[in-house]
């Protein structure tokens, strides 16, 4: 049976050019820029200073507070400076700049390629290792993973859901990971199951990746409680709430978390990272990044050290094509356009997408014809055609009443609008204003 979520969603052209290219490790760059804020929450606190020698995998910044994550050096070398450097958001953030000298790994890290299936760590160990290794959600949200591994008091996790959907068009990093690191991934899933104390895990994969589905299904036979589920191709199925609805038909209440319906969702990349952290004692210092786009010479999936400049990746894929109009960090639907390709790859970078100039421009904006396509495309059951004017004319009460805060910013409305209206742009503005108003009301 093929699952999907019932309401809303769109189906943009998939354009998975890099699906056939296997993961290649990129050489260690000459310089890495490691931002101290690569996750949701408080930036980590630097432990090194200018001139310090660091090894690969060495902790260079400590997580500050509960919602935060450790940062490790991804290379061996000398700290050149700790300064504000532009990152992929376009803002300057405190980063550790390291000049590479060698590639010497920190003691105790297993850099071998053998697969360690045997799980010895207990639930507490797993959570601690995850925390220590600085693992965050690798699907793009970069929420510190150890928090999602510890079930809050009074709640109970029943099912673990592993997100192998990769619903963003063009991106293929998760796809390749599932094909090439299937066994490690499943061990990682088992580890998370153990940490959460659940007996069932579902891996959801969209059916445009039949090879991954069959590969993982075959491997999963050896693992108790892990099942691979096929999903219909539909964006934004990778959204936590949509994925839960699609796989187990539960609706996370408005403003709630997956744990409210007895489930926890982790990305396949995160599961792999947990495997490496727990079984190999390896912190999160590299990730798979897809470099793709129409006109890119060699669409590829690279295993990249965190902090590598985006420019290096693009050059490895054949350089910037002549007609480039836009370079996006992430997928075409939710990624962020970059204004600078010197910025580093961070933990949340799942892909670099190069869009040709003709497609980079937006459609001309004309009158709303009230075609209701945005209403039927919204996976959250909202009415973008109403939320946009509510923001435009500053009717914040109406916007709040119409649940503007439920918007997950998937962009389906802007994608589908035949009048080319910037629905999501306004809704984002409306969301931030409404949440400010709500916060001020609470005070």
């Amino acid at each position: 049976m093929i699952h999907t979520f019932p309401n809303g969603g769109v189906h943009p052209a998939e354009d998975k050019f890099a699906a056939g290219s296997s993961i290649k490790a990129l050489p260690v760059p000459e310089t890495v820029i490691i931002p101290l804020s690569q996750h949701i929450g408080a930036p980590a606190e630097p432990l090194v200073k200018k001139g310090d020698k660091v090894k690969t995998g060495q902790l260079i910044a400590k997580s500050k507070g509960f919602v935060s994550a450790n940062i490790h050096s991804s290379v061996t070398g000398t700290v050149k400076k700790i300064d504000n450097e532009p990152d992929s958001s376009g803002y300057k953030r405190t980063s550790v700049v390291i000049e590479t000298e060698d590639d010497q790994w920190e003691e105790g890290i297993d850099t071998g390629t053998s697969i360690k299936k045997n799980i010895t760590a207990g639930p507490e160990d797993i959570i601690t290792r995850t925390l220590d290794a600085g693992i965050v959600g690798l699907g793009g949200a970069t929420f510190p993973s150890h928090i999602k591994l510890s079930v809050p008091k009074g709640k109970k996790a029943e099912i673990l859901i592993i997100n192998g959907v990769e619903c963003e068009p063009c991106l293929t990093s998760d796809h390749r990971l599932m094909l090439e690191k299937g066994e490690e991934l499943l061990v990682g899933v088992s580890l998370i199951m153990k940490a959460l104390n659940v007996t069932r895990a579902l891996i959801g994969i969209e059916n445009n990746k039949p090879d991954a589905i069959s590969h993982l299904s075959r491997l999963a036979q050896d693992y108790d409680g892990i099942t691979v589920k096929t999903l219909k191709v539909k964006y934004p199925q990778g959204g936590e709430k949509q994925l839960i609805k699609a796989l187990i038909n539960r609706e996370v209440p408005s403003g709630g978390l997956p744990i409210d319906v007895g489930t926890v969702v982790h990305n396949v990349g995160t599961a792999y990272a947990v495997y490496e952290a727990v079984q190999k004692n390896k912190p999160l210092i590299e990730r798979v990044v897809t470099v793709t786009g129409k006109g890119v010479e060699r669409p590829s999936n690279f295993l990249v050290r965190i902090g590598t400049p985006v420019k290096t990746l693009i050059e490895a894929a054949g350089g910037i094509p002549g007609n480039t109009g836009k370079i996006v960090n992430g997928g075409p639907m939710m990624g962020k356009a970059l204004n600078n390709i010197e910025v580093p790859v961070n933990k949340g970078t799942s892909g670099i997408l190069i869009i040709p100039a003709p497609e980079a421009a937006r459609k001309p904006v004309v009158n709303c014809v009230r075609c209701a396509k945005c209403v039927s495309a919204c996976p959250m059951g909202l009415e973008p055609h109403l939320l946009m004017p509510a923001t435009e004319f500053k009717k914040w009460d109406l916007a709040e009443e119409e649940k503007i805060l439920d918007c997950m910013e998937c962009g389906s409305c802007s994608y589908i609008c035949p009048s080319g209206r910037p629905l999501l742009d306004y809704i984002r503005l409306g969301k931030s204003t409404v949440s400010k108003i709500i916060r001020s009301r609470k005070q």
Partner: protein, 333 residues
Amino acid sequence: MDKLITVSPSPHVYGDDTVKKLMYGVIYALLPAFLVSVYFFGIGALIVTAISVVSCVMFEYLIQKYMMKTEPSVSDGSAAVTGVLLAMNLPTNIPWWIIVIGALVAIGVGKMSFGGLGNNPFNPALVGRVFLFISFPVQMTSWPEPIVSRLQYTDAATGATPLGVIKEGLAAGVPMSRLAEQIPGYLDLFIGHLHGSMGEISALALLAGGIYMIARKIITWHIPVSIFCTVFLFTGILWLINPYDNADPVFHLITGGLVLGAVFMATDYATSPMTPKGMWIYGTGIGVITVAIRVYGAYPEGISFAILIMNSFVPLINKYVKPNRFGEEVKNG
């Protein structure tokens, strides 16, 4: 960097649909009905459509340019769609100046008074049609003889629509069974060999257009299906209660402007509800009012009035009928 790149918020890709494409899609969907009409009514169909489209586009251009003083947007095709739909709702022997007046009312009163495309509460083509219907009842209710009047325009021989025959007959007390002899067979009715307005005659061609539009996702199926179901059920009940004085539901479905109205007029974007639930309410309302007018009202056909009446409820429906909010009603199964 030697050249500029675009930096804009997500999403970075867009669907293929544009207003223009959707509008031309509607026009393509109307082609089969138009061709059937040309086959049955000949030059009348061509003249009426040409005058209607040209005057609608012209009035929209003139009003936008000289009265609203905005950049004319006639190229989006919405005025042309109004023009074709208005023509579809007229008999093919109607004098040219009546069409021009209808186009002026449709575009001027029905659309531009409210601010143009997307802001009009009523379907412009229907506003024009109903205006003409009340203003020129004689010209609007004499329909040319199909096939034989192919080469005539305003001088064509005329006759009554099947719905008109039934309405008149039943009012005079003639039983259904005898009236059935006066109307074409169901196959003829379905193909379009009958008296009627230009675009409403062929249920077959209109349904083909409707299926094309649903397949191309120009419209959704909810409104036409809900109208058809309601009309079928309502007339079916009446027919079962008293088959002597009521036409059967199939007859009601394939005659008059029902298919044209349900597929092309009621589904007009700006004047129909935004949510599937709302569309059901709207379609059901149209169905009920249509049958009520047909069976109990003064006119043999009521779909135009029904659509306009339900158009006026659309803002209310949109206000109170909301889509299924994700996570609002927690149904965990």
